[in-house]
């Protein structure tokens, strides 16, 4: 055994970069809600960037290690203590057998990623070790961790200690700009509705999970009561149900949807969805596809630079 959950936290599960190529069978991507933080945490312990790690949501766990391991935490900032002494995000931490890591008060963001140098001993299902919580498959017995669960790790030798350069450390201010491109049903909304959507701020409601995030704010309505034939629903789609309040589809979302989509969050901003918590504010900005692609390329270059450093 390698680590034991003394407290499990609100929703603690194993996630990698997700499963790809199974949506036509109803299996959504799953994987980390904030893949960027997952990658940064893995970099700190010299793992392949998309390797499975532990995703921690809003209320963190308390973990007892049962062997020496190199670990790192990125993403949401919790007050962290190792055997009662403060430790921090964004740097490699070498823990010893019987050390206890405690995630206390959440300060910023919503999800932290705990990467462990080595590999987690869980099976790969549909080409991923991620936990698909709605389907109950993958990860640790297809579910989130519970008190006293024991996770086995195949550790690597202790790695060099690394720290994340300042420019790679995120700031979660609780107020975010999400850039969007038009969706397939954007033209079902009139100018007025689109203006009302883009020119107002929305609040993240309490109703949010890995399937989707419901927002509060201006109501958006369809031009006409047009019947939409269900079609492929992808991550980042902003759906407008009859209530008029937007829902952003996320990693565990359904693969076929029937609500009209007013817009889609651009690929390079999807990781922000993983850091939204109830009460956070969202503003939108409409960008061209060319711009969206540029942003994604920039982000990739940014990550490549870290790998070469």
């Amino acid at each position: 055994m390698s680590l034991r959950f003394i407290k499990a936290g609100l929703q603690t599960s194993i996630q990698d970069d997700g499963r790809f190529g199974f949506m036509h069978q109803g299996i959504s991507r799953s994987g980390a809600m904030d893949p960027l933080s997952l990658q940064l945490a893995n970099w700190l312990v010299s793992n392949p960037l998309n390797q499975a790690a532990i995703e921690i949501t809003l209320v963190g766990p308390t973990i007892e290690f049962t062997r020496n391991l190199s670990v790192a935490i990125c993403g949401a900032e919790f007050d962290l203590s190792l055997n009662g002494k403060s430790v921090f995000n964004n740097e490699t931490i070498n823990v010893k057998a019987s050390d206890v890591l405690e995630f206390k008060q959440l300060r910023h963001g919503a999800r932290a990623y705990l990467a462990i140098a080595g590999e987690l001993n869980v099976d790969s299902l549909f080409a991923s070790q991620s936990t698909h919580l709605t389907a109950g498959l993958g990860g640790y017995n297809g579910r989130q961790f519970k008190t006293n669960d024991v996770l086995e790790v195949y550790p690597k030798q202790e790695t060099d200690k690394r720290a994340l350069p300042e420019t790679y450390r995120p700031i979660y201010a609780g107020s975010y700009l999400l850039r969007c491109c038009n969706g397939i049903e954007t033209d079902c909304f009139d100018r007025e509705s689109l203006d009302s959507f883009y020119h107002s701020r929305y609040k993240v409601s309490k109703d949010l999970n890995r399937m989707g995030l419901r927002l509060e704010g201006n109501l958006v309505f369809l031009n006409t009561a047009k019947d939409i034939v269900s079609s492929g629903l992808i991550q980042g789609s902003i759906q407008i149900p009859p209530s008029g309040l937007p829902i952003i589809s996320s990693v565990d979302g359904q693969t076929i949807g029937g609500y009209p989509r007013v817009a889609n969050v651009i690929s390079s901003d999807l990781n922000i969805l993983g850091q939204l918590k109830p009460g956070d504010k969202i503003a939108w900005s409409l960008v061209s596809r060319a711009k969206a692609w540029q942003h994604l390329q920039q982000k990739q270059r940014f990550l490549n630079k870290l790998l070469l450093s």
Binding site: Q25, G26, I27, S231, I234, I256, R289
Partner: protein, 236 residues
């Protein structure tokens, strides 16, 4: 099939990394066959660059790896694939008939009476109509392994529950609006549950995780409680 290759298709961007193709043609077996063949064409035309190809009743959604694809010429390249596509008839998907045993009795059919009342039919007549036809699997989606079936008798159409049940067990067979289907995993749901199958619709760890694929036909076969329990215990 040749006529279908001329069907009017519109391509719409679905965000920055996917397009959805809409087909101006009635949903059904021929269109589904065409959509599956087009999905294969996309995968071979853009090797390694297509992450998902999601067929639906009258559409196909293609997700790309935007970092791998030539974005400057992508619009033309997509259009060319659609325009030049000749449906593959030699390697066409084989449609199977899959029989699914369903117990329409007792606790396995909690909403049968209510649905029969709404449809102004006897429960026996509901069961007869539900089992007499073969249903086409249009696509899979929504939940892992969930089958979108078409062909439900109009007399059995029934609105969804106003308050969805918090937990519908895997294997439950229901009717919601003009659709019928089987819950592949335990999940919340608003359909009227008229029966349950002892067979696994979705078995993630099996070599064949899905009981059916798009274009297969489904036939529901009524079984009694004794048979249901026997089959269930044989599975365990």
């Amino acid at each position: 099939m040749n006529e279908l290759s001329k069907i009017k298709t519109s391509i719409k961007w679905n965000g920055d990394s996917a397009v959805t193709l809409f087909f101006d043609e009635a949903a059904g077996e021929d269109l589904t066959r065409y959509i599956l063949s087009l999905a294969e064409e996309f995968k071979s035309s853009f090797p390694g660059m297509i992450i998902e190809a999601i067929p639906a009743y009258q559409s196909l959604t293609i997700c790309f790896d935007v970092l791998a694809i030539e974005t400057d010429t992508i619009d033309d390249a997509l259009k060319q694939v659609v325009d030049n596509h000749i449906p593959n008839t030699t390697n066409a998907v084989v449609s199977r008939l899959i029989e699914i045993p369903v117990c329409y009795q007792g606790d396995y059919a909690p909403d049968l009476e209510r649905l029969a009342e709404h449809c102004k039919l006897s429960p026996a007549e509901v069961i007869r109509q539900h089992t007499e036809k073969d249903y086409l699997v249009n696509m899979l989606g929504f939940l892992p392994g969930f089958l979108y079936l078409s062909g439900l008798s109009e007399q059995l159409h029934c609105p969804r529950k106003e308050v969805p049940s918090l937990k519908v067990v895997a294997g439950s067979v229901g009717i919601g609006g003009n659709q019928t289907g089987i819950y592949p995993v335990d999940s919340p749901g608003g359909w009227q549950i008229i029966g349950q199958t002892p067979v696994s619709i979705f078995s993630p760890a099996a070599s064949e995780p899905f009981i059916a694929q798009a274009l297969d036909k489904i036939r529901f076969v009524p079984i009694d409680i004794g048979k249901f329990e026997q089959m269930k215990s044989e599975q365990a």
